[in-house]
């Protein structure tokens, strides 16, 4: 795990526990340019180091050379969808342990089930609600660190 310098968000929360001392690395996979820009900006400002991938193929390449604490994965993408990408990530021993948060504009309960079935640890819908998204990210990061200790 890469050590990062202490980072404080622009707007420190009242709850001191949310201030991160070690920057978590997130791979954000999203094909829509504006969604990529908006959500990555918000995640960066919330204290994460965000690496971008524009589609599933690029994501699978990126995980070969870099380590991540979490993958935030869009579901409907051209050529290699989020569902297929999640399955491939979970099938590979080097990436199977990285938690995946599915993020999709498909907001029906069946869409959530489909994402969980593909191996995602949780699901959130677009447009994002930042506190809700951060809560899910933290929960997945927490369970992942518990699993490794």
């Amino acid at each position: 795990m890469e050590e990062a310098t202490a980072y404080f968000t622009d707007k420190p929360s009242d709850d001191a526990s949310t201030i991160k001392l070690k920057m978590k690395r997130i791979l954000f996979v999203e094909d829509d340019e504006m969604s990529r820009d908006v959500i990555s900006t918000r995640l960066t400002r919330s204290g994460y180091e965000v690496v971008l991938a524009e589609d599933g193929h690029q994501a699978l390449k990126t995980v070969l050379t870099q380590t991540f604490d979490l993958i935030v994965l869009d579901m409907s993408m051209p050529s290699l969808s989020g569902w297929e990408t999640a399955k491939k990530l979970k099938a590979s021993p080097t990436t199977a342990s990285i938690p995946i948060l599915a993020l999709s504009a498909h907001a029906m309960s069946a869409d959530k089930k489909k994402a969980l079935d593909a191996g995602c640890g949780d699901f959130d819908s677009k447009p994002i609600n930042l506190p809700r998204l951060l809560g899910k990210i933290e929960a997945l990061l927490g369970s992942a660190s518990q699993a490794t200790t």
């Binding site: 094909d31 504006m34 918000r42 051209p78 504009a105 447009p127």
Partner: protein, 394 residues
Amino acid sequence: MLELPCFGVQVSADTIGRDVARLFEENPSLPGVIVMDAKGFCGMVARNQLFQRLGRLFGIEIYSTRPITAFLDTLKTSPLLMPAETTIQNAAILCLARPVEYVYDPFVVTMKNEPPRLVDFLALILRQTELLTAAQIEAHTQRAAAVSASNAKSDFLANMSHELRTPLTAIIGYAEILIEDVKAGQLSESVRRLEGIAKSGQHLLEMINGILDLAKIEARKMDIFLTTFSLPEMITEVIGIVQPLMKKNDNQFSVTADNAIREMHSDEAKLRQCLTNLIGNAAKFTSRGSIGLDIKKEIRPDGGWVIFEVSDTGIGMSETQLTRLFESFYQADSSISRRFGGTGLGLSLSKQFCEMLGGELSVRSVENQGTTFVMKVPVRSTQKPESLPASVQE
């Protein structure tokens, strides 16, 4: 009731039992005979009742020489008389309500000014079963159609939700980022983000307008405004709208028109919308190629038709893509609207507009070679009440 096989065989009251039995033997399908005396109709003798009586111990000796009227008195609940208007269902209920030993008897159908006739009980029950089965099949078909329509609606709503959420992600996200920026006095990227909001808002508006149009068509509230207008003028207008779109991908645009058609009687605004949409699509999916609009006249037995052909040398479509092309929100893949723009509703709307004007819209395409849309519209459209495109009627 008269749709069932009816039997009008009459015997006089003094005919002896043996002769009637012979009549039944000669006519295997005859369910019974009508007995007439000097006053007219006096009863019915069923085949099964006669043979049952004759078949008893000493029955033949006792009954074969007796007149047929001797068999009438025992049939206390027969004949069952029914007017010809009685429904099959009610006739079946009445017949089945008879004492069990008479259930299989035929019954008598009466008509004004006509001799009575007999109907076989089994023929009635067979018909009743057919009707019930047909009703069940009909109910099943209707249920299947309702389920299919409901599934189509759910798919539409799910797609709509997805398509509306994508631009909203940008609008809400950029707005929240801008709030943080303004609070922090960091305004360097504000214009880019505001442009993102404006562009996404515009996209959302186009989509909502498209959805409203589709809803109007489905609710049969989409009005058609038929006017007589100049076709060359309309085409000039369309060229003015689409010409700027050609520069973006460096496309050449050419128009050829058959000058024989000067005037059309149709809905000008809807035709213009269809044409700009088709040409706009062609421009979107073609780069450094050519796009053509070709207008021809066709004479058919039902009058003159205008054929608009919009062809391009663009990316084309596969067979699979072509089959779903006119579905709402169908784009070859969901990222197309983002890469190429568009709402995913334009082709679905254009097809339905064409059909409302009495015309048709078809397509042919070869992958990586190009696509041609052919829109055929009558020179003179007629307003039909309940005008609804064929593709919505299912």
